[in-house]
């Protein structure tokens, strides 16, 4: 199930002409981006609506995406002048001098003979009067949202130096049935709630899905056969198989290495859980931890050299970091409460975790050297943090007291209230993928 065909890429993202991350520095003023409507050379009907209307909708969605980033503010289409398609590749800079913007989005939407549409988008620096980046796609007209998200991702990377999360997906466990006898299905959805699909049909209990870095495989925990164990399958459900060779064992907590070649897991035997690493194609596990305590929830650093994990070897659960071969184990968190479920950020600068303290379970962040620990949510039971590709947002599972219903929520590190993911039923164990290929 490939969501994006790489052949549909018409124009590669141009080399960035400006140094990146100039506006993204903390404390710097936000960049104002003007996003006028995308014009169309000829207004034609498609199965996604008229191309002229799609041009307005794409501009609105780009503005909405960029606005959700803490370092960008936008001027929306209805407040801006319109321009012609021929201007898209060569803006009339003097016409935008009064827009009070630092950057300008232009582009066009054109109907194609095959029923699809071409979407082109450009980002210009209004101060230096130079192009910052561009992108273009041929997509089915009904998929204009994905083109808009991809444009926003390209612009986000040019402005902040980091990929956006606007075209990313969230893999999670859809929960129906009763609390005491739940039905759990793997599901995947775009971060904005569109394009929702189930990957399994609730035959057995499934947990902890993780998408491979290339977005083509899923590692998850299944209770098939009566014993929880890690399985791997392709995104379309084919090639489903147990990860570990050899005698059956209780295995759980899978985590792909950044190159997708290995999966770190936890295996519990004789009351002792330890972290092992297995080739992602399956095989025999190699043991990384040996303490008598519970060592679980591994998470690779983005460079693949280190693994964060949780251990209760010191009494309560705390976050530890070790080299990817198991050497150099050291404790990261020392504050009050139990720290678990670490998730290393894509920038590598932070580790998110679940903190049990004062009868509450909440999401916190800490630097890998143990400094700067703080909590970022304030719920009754928030757990299972997973980072957006841009490292600015976290998705987590929030359980409501009383009903016990869990929903994935997203929260920005720059502040603001968590937002519930727009999915058709409750869900747990969210995993925010990298940008799809």
């Amino acid at each position: 199930m490939r969501f994006w065909n790489s052949k549909s890429l018409l124009l590669g993202a141009a080399a960035m002409l400006l140094p990146t991350a100039t506006w993204a520095q903390a404390g710097q003023p936000q960049l104002v981006v003007a996003v006028p409507s995308l014009p169309t050379p000829k207004n034609v009907d498609t199965n996604g609506g008229q191309t002229g209307v799609i041009g307005i909708q794409i501009a609105q969605m780009i503005a909405s995406d960029l606005r959700s980033s803490g370092s960008i503010v936008t001027i929306d289409p209805d407040k801006l002048r319109r321009y012609t398609p021929t201007e898209a590749g060569s803006p009339l800079y003097r016409n935008w001098e009064n827009a009070n913007a630092g950057a300008l989005v232009q582009g066009y939407v054109q109907g194609r003979d095959d029923g699809r549409i071409t979407v082109a988008c450009y980002l210009y620096d209004l101060k230096t009067r130079r192009e910052m980046t561009r992108a273009g796609f041929a997509v089915g007209a009904e998929d204009w949202r994905r083109a808009a998200h991809r444009c926003a991702d390209t612009f986000h990377k040019a402005i902040t130096g980091l990929p956006g999360h606007f075209d990313s997906r969230i893999l999670y466990v859809a929960e129906t049935g009763s609390r005491t006898s739940p039905v759990k299905r793997l599901a995947i959805v775009n971060w904005d709630g569109s394009n929702h699909n189930y990957l399994t049909q609730g035959e057995g209990t499934v947990l902890s899905p993780r998408l491979s870095p290339d977005g083509q495989r899923v590692a998850y925990v299944s209770f098939a056969g009566g014993m929880p164990h890690v399985r791997v399958m392709d995104l379309d459900g084919s090639n489903d198989r147990a990860l570990i060779a050899g005698p059956p064992a209780i295995s759980f907590a899978p985590a792909f290495s950044p190159d997708g070649r290995k999966i770190a897991i936890s295996i519990a035997r004789e009351g002792n859980a330890d972290i092992y690493v297995v080739p992602s194609t399956g095989g025999f596990p190699q043991r990384l931890t040996t303490t008598p305590g519970i060592d679980t929830a591994p998470s690779y650093s983005p460079d693949g050299r280190s693994i964060a994990f949780e251990s209760d070897r010191g009494g309560r659960q705390q976050i530890y970091v070790m080299n990817a071969d198991g050497s150099g184990q050291r404790r990261v968190t020392f504050s009050a409460g139990s720290h678990g479920s670490p998730a290393w950020s894509p920038k590598g600068d932070l580790i998110a975790f679940s903190l049990w303290n004062g009868g509450m379970l909440n999401i916190g962040i800490v630097a890998p050297d143990g400094s700067g620990e703080k909590t970022v949510t304030n719920g009754w039971q928030d757990e299972r943090a997973s980072w957006a590709p841009d490292g600015e947002f976290i998705v987590f599972q929030r359980t409501q007291q009383g009903s016990g219903l869990a929903w994935p929520y997203t929260v920005s590190l720059s502040g603001g209230e968590p937002k519930r993911l727009a999915i058709p039923q409750p869900g747990s164990d969210p995993d925010w993928s990298g940008v799809s290929q």
Binding site: S178, S181, T205, S208, P228, A253, A268, E310
Partner: protein, 179 residues
């Protein structure tokens, strides 16, 4: 007269004992606790017997703990005696953690609790071959309501009988010659 009756009884009983009854593993839905459907040799009856004679098929734990309390030890000692008396019954020692644990730690803690119970049963004389362990983590709470008081009760280990007694008589032997 008595001899004739015995002969008749033997001829009736012979086919039953000559054919070992095939046993189909019970489906796991619904979860143990509800009546199991299918061709089962009175597993619910055995489970009820274990529960009655041991006081409970469940032992409970404090949060994060896998330490067996005095009450748990009493229950498990009685369970061990029952299992020793029923050597053909297999038991699955199913560990659970409460809903306020994180998912991975709950799975590890459930296994750790199940291992603690299994080790105690073995130390009490139960054959290791009779006992399997499994962890359900926090996936099967006993109560649907999500409050601290109810969720913490889910820290438990349940001894679930999973295989019926094999026929107690030995494999078919030639019938002794009746005089």
């Amino acid at each position: 007269m008595n001899r004739v009756l015995l002969l008749i009884a033997l001829t009736i009983a012979a086919p039953a004992s000559a054919q070992p009854q095939s046993y189909q593993r019970p489906q796991r839905a619904p979860y143990p606790g509800s009546p199991i459907e299918g061709p089962v040799l009175a597993l619910p009856v055995l489970q009820a017997d274990l529960t009655t004679k041991s006081g409970s098929d469940t032992v409970r734990f404090a949060r994060d703990s896998y330490v067996l309390t005095q009450q748990s030890l009493t229950t498990l000692t009685a369970q061990a005696q029952w299992l020793i008396q029923h050597p053909f019954v297999r038991a699955s020692i199913e560990g659970h953690a409460d809903g306020r644990q994180t998912r991975d730690y709950a799975l590890a803690l459930g296994e750790r609790r199940a291992a603690a119970v299994r080790n105690y049963l073995i130390a009490s004389g139960v054959s290791p071959d009779q006992l399997d362990t499994v962890s359900w983590g926090k996936e099967r709470p006993t109560s649907a309501a999500a409050h601290d008081a109810t969720w913490l009760q889910n820290s438990r280990v349940v001894t679930v009988l999973k295989q019926p007694p094999q026929p107690m008589y030995p494999l078919p032997q030639p019938l002794p010659q009746q005089q």
